[in-house]
């Protein structure tokens, strides 16, 4: 039995309790401070000018009238900035466009002025002469020989991976296992189709915002709405040509992120304006600026072919994924490979080939977004499995159960599965939803509507990149936890507080969660990849354990006993087992350490996910992964069922009820886990039914909340049943794995499969708008 498992047997009851958010009172009272709520003495306000054109060369820029406007303190254009490219896997972007604009809305100029109105007025006085170029907006066209090239100097950018030959390609990934070319002969049934997925906007409720200020020594402090203070620090330093030691980033409360506030948003340009003016500068985007200038989910096309024998055994799959990366790469070199990696789904398919592209286009840049690539691939694969089941005459759940990965199986590309819970998820969601009864007998629908039920299986990862944590024992026996993790709303501040409280048997209010600040926090990768609870949680727990060991050492010396004879008592007391009177408050230990023996007590731990096994290049063809799939974390599994009604006249779809079974290892905070699942499902209900960024010749035509519809309360089902499977993961803190992303992987195909079940029409393109559903119903009728 591992040490972790032994700990798990006597876990403090705070683990698993639905304790309220530690920051609940400040959020409910309106006292929570978000970036735009910050005001600094002498602060200026900034605004950015976005390009009018999707693709154009900048011929000349005249800012003289803008500079002359009273109240304007700085006007910056691309040529005023250091020529430092920034980006994650390929450095292809500047904070302001320099020679060329590559999407409509791309920032070309920045103004800092005494107020926002003056800054915006100044923007209108900037004259830019453009030579318009043909915009490339179609991903397949972009890949064709002779296509207009978007980044002429692509091959000169600093890059961490091998660039494909096609000049508009950001990255190309190919995986292959078995012998997919000859395996088709063994198949009795083959289905083949093309699927289309939309560009989805994150629509975090708080638009991107940054306040930057430079001190007299040339060090810049940045308060910003970010998913990672260290990432913002790195990009800001890089763009300014400063060492990271000259940049401090602090995260106030964050109004949502979902991947859109990973890497950088508007931190670099705001810091550059602070440098240019010598005064604090605030830049808060309007919603329209955020929608046109910032990031989004990759839209794209997926071509998929799957074959099975007549008993329902999956034999072969061929898949080609082409994703629209937009004008700059951002996290594309991670997103399309992840799409490829999950295109097999949580099933055994012995012969499989997949290729995945991210392609430059003259549209806004695509980035990380909850599930990063997985929801796209899973929409195709789970839709196709239902069509396969129909042709085989099999129940969709049965087909999935028959092929679900089991403990002795390897995941695609040969990676070991830590806990194979796919079957358990499917069985749980099947039973809870009365799947068999509804599928066989149906449920009466309201007049004019048809009702259906659909399933999707899914897998994802939880992990990625290193984490550190410090736990300091304060003189009064309380502790301060500092791990640099940013809570973007998912609840990690509370989770980590619970973990430390459990490790030291403290009450929640005896643990101070320190705000992320690069001046004091351990280095920390960002909030992404469902990594906080699992990766950072490991560092936090082990730092807490470290403090406990130090407390035991001191207590053993004072009480003259072995550490093994000591125990923690709730509320900050260490005592001798079986001797109620032999007890010391933590304050006595802290005092001894501080004044007499050993120095202050600080527990610290650094942790990085280490795979059990490496990819086996003999087993499969593997190329073009910027980040090796074996390093991305442990697997998680889930299964979801949606029940919908489709209006026969309008094609409108309503999701009535939803069941989601997820293997979470252990829920540290049950209500927060449910909150993640409920929120992920409703966000992706929007992806399935209404959300789609639209461009006309490269110009976004719906950059407002009015025209881009996210689900409201009346659109979302109240009955969302979170069914938690808790099989402790041995490498995880108290067994807990991440759930923030996997819950967002399944809703689109589950809903599409429910639509198919309701009206017999397959919708291959999401969002399944009434128009598309009606069209699919018409095609289904024509085919009959």
């Amino acid at each position: 039995m591992s040490a972790n498992m032994a700990d798990n047997m006597q876990v403090n009851p705070i683990i698993g309790a639905s304790v309220p958010r530690i920051e609940g009172p400040e959020k409910a009272s309106g006292r929570a401070i978000y970036t735009d709520d910050i005001t600094r003495p002498g602060m200026l306000h900034a605004a950015l000018l976005g390009s009018h054109y999707a693709h154009a060369r900048i011929l000349s820029v005249d800012t003289s009238a803008a500079r002359a406007l009273p109240g304007v303190k700085a006007v910056l254009v691309g040529t005023d900035l250091p020529h430092n490219y920034i980006g994650m896997f390929i450095k292809d972007q500047l904070p302001l466009a320099r020679d060329k604009v590559r999407y409509s809305g791309e920032p070309v100029a920045a103004v800092a002025a005494i107020d926002v109105q003056t800054a915006r007025r100044a923007l209108r006085l900037i004259e830019i002469e453009y030579e318009e170029l043909e915009p490339v907006t179609d991903i397949e066209e972009a890949l064709k020989p002779g296509a207009t090239v978007i980044h002429e100097q692509r091959d000169e950018y600093p890059t961490m991976y091998e660039l494909p030959r096609e000049p508009n390609a950001i990255c190309f990934t190919e995986f292959m296992e078995g012998d997919p070319s000859s395996a088709w002969d063994q198949c009795d049934v083959i289905v083949e189709d093309e699927y289309q997925v939309p560009a989805q906007y994150h629509m975090y409720m708080e638009p991107s915002s940054t306040v930057a200020e430079m001190d007299g020594n040339g060090k810049v402090t940045v308060w910003t709405s970010t998913q990672g203070v260290a990432r913002s620090q790195m990009y800001t330093a890089l763009a300014m040509g400063l060492p990271m030691s000259k940049v401090r980033v602090i995260a106030p409360r964050i109004g949502g992120g979902f991947g859109g506030k990973c890497e950088f948003t508007n931190q670099p340009i705001t810091a550059l304006l602070a440098q240019a003016t010598g005064r604090p500068v605030k830049l808060t985007f309007s919603r329209e600026d955020d929608m046109t200038m910032m990031k989004r989910r990759h839209g794209g096309r997926i071509y998929m072919k799957t074959g099975a024998t007549k008993d329902g055994t999956l034999v072969a799959r061929d898949c080609r994924i082409v994703l629209d990366g937009g004008a700059y790469a951002d996290e594309s070199p991670e997103v399309s490979p992840v799409a490829a990696f999950f295109s097999q789904g949580p099933y055994r398919i012995p012969n499989m080939r997949v290729e995945a592209w991210s392609v430059y286009t003259n549209l806004s840049r695509a980035s990380a977004f909850r599930g990063f690539g997985n929801p796209q691939a899973t929409f195709a694969s789970e839709s196709q499995l239902d069509d396969l089941a129909e042709q085989l005459g099999m129940d969709p759940v049965e087909l999935r159960l028959a092929n679900a990965l089991e403990q002795d199986d390897k995941f695609f590309c040969g990676k070991t599965i830590e806990k194979a819970t796919m079957k358990a998820c499917l069985e749980k969601v099947r039973d809870a939803s009365d799947w068999a009864g509804k599928r066989l007998h149906g449920t009466p629908a309201r007049p004019g509507k048809k009702r259906g039920i659909g399933v999707a299986g899914m897998s994802h990862i939880s992990g990625l990149a290193g984490a550190g944590a410090n736990v300091l024992l304060n003189e009064d026996g309380s502790v301060t936890l500092n791990c640099g993790a940013v809570d973007i709303g998912q609840g990690s501040d509370t989770i980590f507080t619970q973990i430390v409280a459990a490790a030291l048997a403290l009450d929640m209010d005896q643990v101070n969660f320190a705000a992320p600040d690069t001046d004091s926090s351990p280095y920390q990768f960002q909030t992404s990849a469902s990594r906080n609870t699992y990766v950072i949680g490991n560092a936090v727990k082990k730092a807490g354990d470290d403090v406990r060991e130090q407390i035991y050492r001191h207590a053993g010396e004072i009480l003259e006993c072995n550490s093994a004879d000591l125990e923690l008592r709730q509320g900050g007391v260490v005592g001798v087992k079986g001797v109620p009177d032999a007890a010391l408050p933590f304050a006595a230990i802290a005092g001894r350490a501080l004044w007499q023996e050993g120095g202050p007590i600080m527990g610290t731990h650094n942790w990085l996910y280490t795979p059990q096994d490496r990819m086996d290049p003999k087993r499969m063809l593997l190329r073009g992964f910027a980040l090796m799939p074996d390093a991305i974390g442990i697997f998680t599994f889930g299964a979801q069922v949606a029940e919908v009604e489709v209006d026969e006249v309008t094609g409108q779809v309503e999701v009535l009820e939803y069941w989601a079974a997820h293997d979470v290892g252990k829920a540290i905070n049950k209500a927060s886990v449910e909150g993640q699942i409920e929120g992920g499902i409703v966000q992706m209900l929007g992806y399935a039914l209404t959300e789609e960024m639209l461009w006309d010749n490269g110009r976004m035509i719906n950059p407002t909340m009015m025209d881009y519809k996210i689900p409201g309360m009346a659109d979302a089902p109240y009955k969302i049943h979170s069914l938690l499977i808790e099989e402790a993961e041995e490498s995880a803190p108290y067994g807990a794995k991440g759930v923030g992303e996997i819950c967002a992987v399944g809703p689109a195909p589950a809903i599409a499969n429910a639509i198919k079940n309701a009206v017999g029409a397959r919708v291959n393109q999401i969002p399944a708008t009434p128009e598309r559903v009606l069209k699919a119903m018409q095609s289904a009728d024509d085919a009959d």
Binding site: S29, Y34, G489, M706, D715
Partner: protein, 160 residues
Amino acid sequence: MTDKQAVTLSINGDCHDVLADPRRTLLQVLREQLSLTGTKCGCNNGVCGSCTVLIDDLPMRACLTLAVAATDREITTIEGLETGGELHPVQQAFIEYQGMQCGFCTPGMVIAAKALLDRNPDPTLDEIRDELSGNLCRCTGYVKIADAVLSLVDADRGQN
């Protein structure tokens, strides 16, 4: 340039004299001139509801209300719901039921929920979903927000 006007606003029981451009919205004046930053700006377009405040007890969009049009009215913002240092029961319910994640929509959502319960102390689930559908939340999926509001119905009426 438009001349500024003297405006007297009654907010959370206090009178504030401000000089404001007549084109300025109540949201701008609250946040930028009076430092009442609990009211949030999510769209500035009247869609998201993050800026919901009570004007004479009715939930209104502060981003669509001109400050000059709010004179002689009683304005209540999220900062005005506490009494004697105690959070309002709606605020407490949102905390207890985790009816919030990132918290950015929470002030507007709490105000809208309070307005609903003041007007209709016994709303059904469907009434809650209808009445709060003008306040968008991107994190929670709304279930726990509904639970928070339903808990107050239960507490007041002792029914499910």
